[in-house]
């Protein structure tokens, strides 16, 4: 007797297409689009989804998690400063105290649990999908994202002239890391002028990233390392606590805004 139930190729194909098409139709108009599925984007999306907000993550890679799999020097130990370990508690990640206020945990464990927690909270995900442009509405308010398949963006234009599609949302969150891709798109249009990285070396900048997480432009919230680029804060090393708490702060700001509408 075979292990698996019998099914045909056409049923498998139909299942993939019909479910994905249903999802895509659903994505066309969401509350929040998070561009970037690294630690800050995952936390923001999870927190919003847990509050009943319709949220979609657009991730250009096949895998989610960004740099959260690995710590400094390709060593996969993640360090988290208090109070960010409380978030690890919430998603069931075990860790140990390295010294007072500093905790360590394996990157693969923390990252996979965070991805699972976001999915379980009801976050929708479009991976292998690249952000292409912003949708602008009245007074240049950001109101959505233009996206395309990542492979299309990687191929020469003459063999991949595939037009992108646009998704509408009430808020877009830029969680694209140091690149700050969404913010840079606004800068290309002359709507924002970022100062670049902090000109002076300052050792303590984790708080600044968290506290600056919020609206950078009407309709656009920045979180994670994109905050550093947008506001010219000092570049940081692999300090994941601030990424997690920045995502949480961004979600709070987004939720307050949505609630006020």
């Amino acid at each position: 007797m075979p292990i698996f139930e019998k099914s045909s190729e056409r049923s498998v194909t139909r299942a993939i297409i019909s479910e994905f098409a249903k999802d895509m139709e659903n994505f066309a108009n969401t509350d929040v689009i998070v561009i970037g599925g690294g630690p800050s984007g995952l936390v923001a999306a999870r927190d919003l989804a847990l509050k009943g907000v319709k949220v979609l993550i657009v991730e250009r890679n096949n895998y989610l998690g960004g740099g959260f799999w690995i710590g400094g020097f390709l060593m996969n130990t993640i360090t988290v400063r208090a109070p960010a370990q409380k978030l690890l508690d919430e998603i069931g990640v075990k860790y140990r105290q390295f010294e007072k206020g500093l905790y360590v945990t394996p990157g693969p464990l923390a990252c996979s649990k965070l991805i699972a927690a976001a999915c379980e909270a009801g976050v929708s995900i479009l991976n292998m999908t690249s952000f292409d442009d912003v949708v602008l509405r009245e007074k240049n308010r950001v109101s959505g994202a233009v996206i395309n398949w990542t492979p299309v963006a990687l191929l020469p234009r003459q063999i991949s002239c595939v037009d992108p599609i646009a998704l509408e949302s009430k808020i877009v969150i830029d969680a694209t890391g140091h690149d700050a891709t969404v913010v840079k798109k606004l800068e290309e249009r002359g709507l924002i002028k970022t100062p670049g990285f902090g000109a002076m070396w300052i050792e303590k900048s984790e708080d600044a990233v968290v506290e600056h997480s919020g609206f950078a432009h009407p309709g656009l919230i920045v979180i994670g390392m994109a905050v550093s680029t947008t506001f010219g804060l000092p570049r940081m090393g692999p300090t994941f606590g601030s990424m997690l708490l920045s995502g949480r702060k961004g979600a709070e700001v987004a939720y307050e805004h949505l609630k006020g509408k």
Partner: protein, 277 residues
């Protein structure tokens, strides 16, 4: 500032304004120190100065603070239009809804915002010292760039709490080892170990020695108000202008006293705290 002449003014009061985070520093110890040196002068502790910002001035002050950011250390004063997000952030800091840190502000621009906030009822008879959790810089015409500062002297004087950690340079040994670790791609744990190994050589965040440093810096601010000359060349005097952390620790903690010349001067000023300029 009122129109009273500095040459006729007698210092009657020192106002110590708390920083954005009221728990950052135990100002009662600074008050006690200054009262001990100037018994005839009344020393008050007042709340964070931005608590004076009301709804009518909130937009203006938020935008001015955002414009006060120092974005290019090589330019004396850079004019720029702040971003929406920067103004919103400053609005949150004024309302006490966001902590400050990680951003450098032009000390002169900050000073002019604070002077206007203090405008009513202040005169040369009052020395105002603002503590802040913000980093501040001023431009140096010696090497043509901005430098982080512990104190920005003026009316009021601004004392930057993170400036105590970040402004005076750490030892060469610290920087060489840190650079070495960073080049090797060492993570946060290695840097934490380095800081712990060399912790006696510099004032760090949440360092219990900070309060002693702040007493000395506050005295420098009072001396600026009285004489326009806050510094001493003696490395063992609390009025020494320390550019290195080791000198800061030596002048404010290891020695922790005034030199003979300044002991005499402060004793004279204590008896008659008249502005000498």
């Amino acid at each position: 500032m009122s129109t009273s002449k500095a040459s006729e003014a007698e210092l009657g009061r020192i106002d110590l304004f708390r920083s954005e985070n009221p728990d950052s520093v135990r100002l009662d110890e600074v008050k006690e120190y200054l009262t001990g040196l100037f018994p005839s002068v009344s020393v008050r502790i007042l709340p964070f100065v931005f608590s004076r910002v009301d709804r009518s001035t909130e937009d203006k002050i938020s935008a001015e603070l955002a414009r006060a950011r120092m974005k290019n250390p090589d330019v004396v004063e850079q004019a720029f239009e702040p971003m929406y997000g920067e103004i919103e952030y400053e609005r949150r800091t004024i309302a006490g809804k966001a902590r400050v840190g990680g951003v450098v502000y032009d000390g002169r621009k900050m000073g002019s915002i604070l002077t206007r906030l203090l405008e009513s009822g202040h005169s040369f008879e009052t020395a105002s010292i603002m503590f802040t959790d913000r980093l501040v810089s001023t431009y140096s015409h010696d090497d043509l760039r901005h430098h982080l500062r512990t104190v920005v002297f003026g009316f009021p004087c601004i004392i930057s709490l993170p400036g105590v950690v970040e402004a005076p340079a750490k030892s060469r040994e610290y920087h060489v080892l840190k650079q070495q670790l960073e080049m090797e791609g060492a993570g946060e744990l290695a840097l934490v170990r380095l800081r712990n190994a060399l912790k006696d050589e510099f004032i760090d965040y949440d360092d219990p020695r900070t309060i002693e440093v702040l007493k000395g810096l506050s005295l420098q601010a009072v001396m600026f108000h009285l004489t326009l000359d806050p510094f001493c060349e003696d490395r063992d005097c609390r009025l020494f202008n320390a550019h290195w952390q080791t000198d800061l620790i030596r002048s404010q903690i290891s020695a922790g006293r005034l030199c003979k010349r300044h002991t005499k001067l402060i004793s004279a000023l204590s008896a008659k705290p008249v502005l000498r300029w």
